[in-house]
């Protein structure tokens, strides 16, 4: 069974999604346990896989028993396994934390919701693990279609339009990627990543391959909400229902960023991406603009959730910039930032979802006096906020540190300035909220009058609170161990890829 883990990782949640939807018509109570089971197994499998690849270095799995260029293969290296672990952890914890909310918001269609939830995770896990360019497209579409419908279930006034815009942009992105793959296919005749990498070097100078690379890149950048192509992102994530927002916002964009890094390292070689075509400096400058625009736009928002979506835009700038500086340190920083950003965005969205129980809306004014009412939930919010700002020992600091080191090494000082500047803006952003929550007391005398009012805004229930605290601890934990994470897992793979 152990050798089948790469397939089971994706297939177990897939099978359980089908079982859940079937069960939703027969026996509704079994939906949630099935969903939990369907996410717990991939979580344990991804831990085991990380262990296996850490020892063996690389796992290749041939689906259907057909050898790679003809069949589809899964390729797992330590980098993949790390991202897999992050994805499956977030999915599992989020389901535990938000199951109560899901049952409350969608009582009559929770089976469908859980099925879509699991299929979204299937898509993301498959994207990370697959070694076939076309298979990646199909999985991308699974993740996107489930994402569209999960987002479309949100705020009935705005969510459908936001989601439809996401459909249009997402489809353009996926089609551009597909066009790029078509250009690769017509020039090489293969779809397997390893095989394509071997066939490409004599074709590097051809315009078809350069255009293929640009189209794949643009398609993926649309999907990850990179700066000039980010218009769909803030609305889609702001109006999504909160269990879906805390799932999609951390995962989708980061997994796409990982796909970009994977395309650079293991399909087109870094020497092609960074030196053959002269776009790397341009992309880094674009990333700088993305960081600044994201931060400034975040500053102008009064709605906390909308502010966070702009922070995501700015974080994508960090990752893309780090990846395109083009040396091993910056690339390791970018990969570490993907992992960290998954965790911190997840923590901040999850705690925001928990806070929203006690407030009327997501406006900053609603946060007044929250520290008194829900101290633990606010503490997790503070931890994730500090991590996004980048204050040690939270994990955000360490990835920014590696990014800065890499930028110095690559001589890209503009990126450093922008990075520090956006950290300063993040400080303003978050301390604005902390101040409101800590020092300002609500003008209404809700706390002091009756006992009833204080019950209504009591601390988050344990089923949400424990996962939340766990995530916050994980943020610090990852921060402390990020040195060994870089040295043992990320750096060896990245350096081997960059050579």
């Amino acid at each position: 069974m152990t050798e089948n883990y790469p397939a089971l990782l994706v297939v177990v949640p897939l099978l359980s999604a089908f079982a859940i939807y079937g069960c939703s018509w027969l026996h509704r109570k079994s939906c949630l346990p099935l969903a939990l089971l369907g996410l717990a197994i991939p979580f344990f499998i991804s831990i085991r896989l990380l262990k296996t690849v850490f020892i063996n270095g690389h796992v290749s799995y041939h689906l259907g028993g057909w050898a790679p260029p003809w069949g589809i293969a899964y390729e797992i290296d330590p980098l993949n396994a790390l991202v897999l672990l992050a994805v499956s952890t977030v999915a599992f914890i989020n389901l535990i934390a938000t199951s109560g909310q899901i049952e409350r918001i969608f009582p009559d269609r929770k089976g469908a919701f859980y099925a879509l939830y699991l299929l979204f995770i299937v898509g993301l896990l498959g994207i990370v693990v697959t070694g076939d360019l076309f298979n990646l497209y199909v999985l991308l579409e699974i993740a996107s279609i489930t994402g569209y419908s999960l987002i479309g279930m949100g705020n009935p006034d705005r969510a459908p339009l936001a989601s439809l815009n996401y459909v249009f942009m997402g489809t353009i992105g996926a089609c551009f990627y597909l066009l790029g793959v078509g250009y690769i296919y017509i020039m090489t005749g293969s779809l397997n990543m390893v095989d394509v990498k071997g066939l490409l070097p004599p074709l590097y100078h051809t315009s078809a391959i350069i255009v293929a690379f640009i189209f794949c890149l643009v398609g993926i950048m649309i999907k990850m909400g990179f700066f000039p192509l980010h218009f769909w992102l803030p609305n889609a994530y702001t109006y999504a229902p909160s269990p879906a927002a805390s799932l999609i916002a951390p995962l989708m964009t980061k997994v796409m960023a990982y796909v970009m890094i994977r395309l650079i390292i293991s399909v087109f070689s870094p020497s092609f991406a960074f030196s053959s075509i002269q776009i790397s400096r341009g992309v880094v400058w674009l990333a700088c603009i993305a960081i600044i625009v994201g931060a400034v736009m975040a500053l102008s928002q009064r709605d906390v959730r909308r502010m966070l979506t702009y922070i995501i835009v700015s974080e994508m700038g960090y990752i893309v910039g780090g990846a395109w500086i083009g040396n091993a340190t910056a690339m390791s920083g970018a990969v570490l930032h993907i992992i960290n950003d998954v965790l911190m965005t997840f923590c901040v969205f999850l705690s925001l979802g928990a806070i929203a129980r006690s407030t009327k809306g997501y406006q900053i004014e609603n946060f007044s006096g929250l520290f008194k009412k829900i101290p633990v939930t606010m503490a997790t919010f503070v931890v994730s906020g500090l991590s996004i700002i980048g204050i040690p020992p939270t994990c955000g600091f360490f990835s920014k540190w590696y990014l800065i080191l890499g930028a110095i090494e690559g001589g890209h000082y503009g990126f450093i300035v922008v990075l520090l500047l956006s950290s300063l803006i993040n400080i303003i952003l978050f301390f604005r909220i902390f101040e409101e929550a800590f020092f300002v007391y609500p003008k209404t005398n809700a706390v002091h009058t009756e006992g009833e009012a204080s019950i209504a805004i009591a601390e988050t229930p344990f089923v949400t609170l424990i996962p939340l605290v766990l995530t916050a601890i994980l943020l610090i934990f990852t921060g402390i161990y990020s040195g060994s994470l870089i040295a043992l897992i990320i750096k060896p793979v990245v350096s081997a890829g960059l050579l």
């Binding site: 279609i145 009935p156 439809l164 249009f168 078509g182 296919y185």
Partner: protein, 131 residues
């Protein structure tokens, strides 16, 4: 001129798919009506499918169903007699994906219409701004 003509005959299929793709992309970005945008999206997707199918075609190739006798040489089956089947497989998947996206997008469009009673994007945006 001679050069242009040989290029034209050799590649007009690829060029026309690009024209179709441009029509679709233009409709997706510039049109105001949501359903029109959807049609543009579908045209875009079918243009890409056309491109892939063009990649797979071979002059003098027949449909990729191996019949007893046809295309057999003493050494087995000669692949040059049959068109390349791999792009067809990929495009079956792409067609399915496009119809799925179409279904979901129609559902979203109906939901928008239920709320705003219009499908014009600018009218919806003014309604949102007013409220």
């Amino acid at each position: 001129m001679e050069f242009l003509f040989t290029h034209l005959v050799a590649k007009y299929n690829f060029w026309l798919y690009i024209v179709l793709m441009m029509i679709g992309l233009y409709a997706m970005i510039a049109k105001n009506n949501l359903i029109k945008k959807l049609v543009g999206m579908n045209i875009f997707q079918t243009a890409i499918i056309l491109f892939y199918v063009s990649v797979g075609s071979k002059k003098g190739g027949t449909i990729p169903i191996i019949e007893h006798g046809a295309g057999h040489t003493p050494h087995g089956i000669d692949p040059a007699h049959y068109v390349n089947p791999l792009p067809h497989v990929l495009m079956l998947t792409a067609i399915v994906v496009s119809v799925s996206t179409f279904g979901v997008a129609l559902a979203l469009a109906i939901k928008i219409y239920q709320r705003y009673k219009t499908l014009e994007e600018d009218e919806i945006l003014t309604r949102i701004r007013e409220s």
